[in-house]
Symmetry: C2
Subunit: 172 residues, 2 copies
């Protein structure tokens, strides 16, 4: 069964620095009307980076929606006109200080398809070498090098909960 929700009308609620929000009235089958709250997001990139064959680079940063720090793979938003690989290489260097000789596409995920159009492209980075740490002046990030086995354990026991980080291992 493939069906389509036709937009009857929509209203922009907010257009901000990263996301925008609109509310759409849609028509679903049987002429029923429904409301859809739609967050628009530029999308981003996450990088599963190996500093050696069994050690992964993770970054820890404060996440305001949860009021706490979280451990995740290096990641960032796509800038206007930027392609995912370019974005991934830039974010990896900004957040970890490393560049990668090998940068392989793993796949893409959608984080919350019920209300948000965010797509995250995942890459695997290997054969790393030193670049320089930089990046946004309002981002404070600490770098962690953790054995893959330990990372998988931290996923299972709930110490790592970020969906892009967890998903990235399904593409290796």
């Amino acid at each position: 069964m493939e069906y389509f929700e036709k937009t009857i009308k929509e209203k922009e609620i907010y257009n901000g620095q990263i996301i925008s929000l609109k509310v759409a009235e849609v028509e679903v089958p049987n002429n029923i009307k429904a409301l859809r709250e739609l967050v628009s997001h530029p999308g981003g990139v996450g990088i599963l980076a190996y500093i050696d064959k069994d050690t992964i680079l993770l970054v820890q940063q404060f996440r305001k929606p949860f009021e706490k720090v979280m451990l995740e793979i290096p990641a960032g938003k796509l800038e206007k006109g930027e392609n995912p690989e370019e974005c991934g290489r830039r974010e990896l260097e900004e957040e970890t200080g490393y560049l990668a000789k090998k940068f392989t596409y793993l796949g893409r995920i959608v984080s919350s398809p019920g209300f948000c159009n965010e797509v995250i492209h995942l890459f695997k980075a290997t054969e790393l070498y030193c670049g320089k740490i930089g990046g946004d002046q309002d981002e404070f990030i600490s770098l962690h090098k953790i054995k893959k086995e330990k990372v998988l354990q931290m996923i299972k026991n709930g110490d790592i909960v970020d969906a892009k980080t967890i998903s990235s291992f399904m593409f290796e």
Copy 2:
């Protein structure tokens, strides 16, 4: 390095049927001020349901943010006061028509920690038996029974992109 972003002021932009949005001005280290756009979401549950030992129930539904149908594990939002297991059992029956004798907690994921506080609790359902299909009158869902091996292949080749679906296999 653990640090905290103190809220200087915040403004509610929208308070809707599922999500709400506020914009906060925060103070990050070095007295720098930054803006955080924060989407609040009630959270939800996703269910990795096995109809037999190697066949999984997936649901296909139209996702307005992408203007297309997507294949995902059965899932739904937490109602007020509902606990995750209760929500998961309800959604599984509503979306697939099945009840489960065994309903095991797998873990939780956060879908987009940069701007949204959504948490999705993941369960594994086995020993299924027939209930009745029902649910929201504005949801149109088709049920698919797909071999696990094929599901894993569909993740790798990009036919399944939903993060909660992909993540659920990391907890088994």
